[in-house]
Symmetry: C2
Subunit: 475 residues, 2 copies
Amino acid sequence: MSLPATSAWLPDLLFTGARFESGLALVADAQGTILRLSREPADLAAAQRLSGRALLPGLVNAHSHAFHRVIRARSEFRSSAQRDTFWTWREVMFRAATALDPDDLLRASRMAFLEMALSGITTVGEFHYLHRAPNGRAYAEPNAMALALVRAAREVGLRICLLHSAYARAGWRRTPSPAQRRFIIESPDEYLTAYASLRVALASDTVAGLAWTGFAPHSLRAVPPDYLRAILPAMRAHAAPVHMHLSEQTDENEVCLAEHDTTPIGLLEHEGVLNETFTAVHAIHISTHEAVALARAKAHVCACPTTERNLGDGINPADLFFARGLPVALGTDTNVQTDLLEDARELEYHLRLKYLQREILAPAPAPEVDSDPSALATRLLACATRHGAASLHAPGGSLELGRAADFFTVALDDPALAGADVATLPAAIVFAGGRSCIVDVVIGGRPVVANGRHPQQAAIVGDFHALQHKLWAHL
Amino acid sequence: MSLPATSAWLPDLLFTGARFESGLALVADAQGTILRLSREPADLAAAQRLSGRALLPGLVNAHSHAFHRVIRARSEFRSSAQRDTFWTWREVMFRAATALDPDDLLRASRMAFLEMALSGITTVGEFHYLHRAPNGRAYAEPNAMALALVRAAREVGLRICLLHSAYARAGWRRTPSPAQRRFIIESPDEYLTAYASLRVALASDTVAGLAWTGFAPHSLRAVPPDYLRAILPAMRAHAAPVHMHLSEQTDENEVCLAEHDTTPIGLLEHEGVLNETFTAVHAIHISTHEAVALARAKAHVCACPTTERNLGDGINPADLFFARGLPVALGTDTNVQTDLLEDARELEYHLRLKYLQREILAPAPAPEVDSDPSALATRLLACATRHGAASLHAPGGSLELGRAADFFTVALDDPALAGADVATLPAAIVFAGGRSCIVDVVIGGRPVVANGRHPQQAAIVGDFHALQHKLWAHL
């Protein structure tokens, strides 16, 4: 189905990135690219009227493991008389990881992506590490699992950056558990071949901005320096996004110190991995010195607060990053809860709990200027949109000429937002909004969600119920 | 409108307090009181079928200041070059407190209560301190403001415990700010007269379980020991709920130490205020010793995590309370976000961020028994239901013989809950649920919300928009 030569939408209010404005139509071309924000009478007259709604750039979910959706609500209990941690949670995740074939993964990720779309997310960065069959052998199509993820995103209508994970080993001086056999591609050459092959398979989707690849050396646990060195030339040549789990747990840092006598960031800087294509996912347990190194490299950070609180990882030091101008993207990670607005507010809120103060990430008030009641919310919205798009090299993220027409709308009469005005609406959305407020989701000019529903919703949910029954009913 | 002699509902699953069960009908009498949970064929046949839905006891919001709803999204910015805290937030709240007349309060609280109902809340504990006119004079009807709150609850259909606040002073050696003139009733006798008069005004509602009173000595800042002593006999005689803000901020504790040479809990224990009618609201900055004192008195705690994170109050030490069997209720407090399920999960999650562990509030696994994947969620649901009802002396809170037929349903095919089974559904609801999942809300056997909508929703939202315009448009 092709789009008309131009499409236009006229909401009550449109978020320009700094504030909401009224009387602005968003006009896109037949490729779903933004031509203009317009007050021209002809554009206003031609536009589809989105009455009672405010329009914002689509949310960008910069870090997801879609298949974790199958363990939602399945790891929230004491598994041992000792303390539970990230590592005991990981055993549950490994159990799920072992069970899924490509068709299962399609069904699981379609469910995860559906919920994302309904929550206003228009692009996902899918950090993918289930490469091989459960027995550790390559599938006949080595990228069968990656392609299932891309297909799921296409069926839902979401843009996807497939972050293809390099995973060489279980960890320093560690034998892989059976589950990890699926993750491991021991040879950097084999990894790069699989990556190149995926890139070719997605070539036409990449041109259309619908699906593209990025590198994801999993972590320094999983990828030692010699492996990193082997794939670095390809990462530099392709100039694609490079995402890496980093300093999520203090144990990681300790092992890195023991193995390499430096911190993860220190090692990556030394190896020349840090640059403007690099995103440090989590980056919780890091020093000011390390934040400075990331900033110097013009790298990105991706925080995942809903997951980081669930796993007991710790509080993201976003104040360190904001102070140095490091862009912080957001991710739903384990999808234990899919609500990027909740992630946005937690970035601030967890710091309030740490410091017992308020307005940690807000800009200082400008003298002689009225305070903007949404200055903080605007920064947090940038994390959920623009910074995510920059981290993933995604075409959306802001409503500007040449960017993709990816957006969502909220109902101004939703009980969570009611009573907000133009000035306070960003703060209302960030601090009180959620899926209940969302009416439309449009990606590349095409409607994906209308009236809070996705056309394939019932089928996707039904398939997922069947999958969960298959996976868990024998327990 | 009277109810039929009996009403019955048959969901796919019904939460008994420990687990979900299928094939159970909930049967209530004409007064909306639960007669039985039934598997009798006649009851099942007569029941209204709630297909595709799971039924839970209504949530109990044990601590609300409804009027704070008017400042939602209006205090999330840096107000000064110094640090922002609870105290700078309070200035914004005081500004709103000064502006509202009884009719404004009706409109503001109707909005807050509507959002609560849509979120599954069936009873609210409204901690009310706007007693007088803005100039500090009593209204002709001294309880005009309290009665506006009760009317708002009635119009929405919510049960309300009106916690009538005693507020004698701004604080130790502090002159009241102009805003506080509304709060202050200097004479204990006048306070008790107003309380008694409100009790009489609500007598028939109290018999029906729809509206009743409780005492709310605001805090030790606002209520010195001699005032407490003066109202203590009435509190004992009435045996109503007694709620008090306590150790929300470290400053409070320091001032209490300076004035009384003891902690707030120490002072209250000494004055004989702590007993099974007492609820300590917040109780964040307290010692193990103080938790023991609360437990010894069989008192309650009310945590308000969504507000406590917003205000930078700190992390509620629910682990201290759970370890001593102290029941923890939950409140939405400032209503900056109205989502008691979010409060429930934060009770656990904030502790995970504190300790960098998981499953802090979960019961230890029983040896030789399969772990219950919802054991933790069941505890958190008790906080959001049963413990709240106990704190407020509310008739709902659990689906048992003789309790009120107050409940809500969730859609099992909601994208947040999809894929859960009977065993994991409580965890899915607590860790991923929210207003989007909620279909029906029934209070005392009467439908209040159907299909996620309240019949008065549009009018209440419209009125609230007009109020907000009046309050804030000149800014």
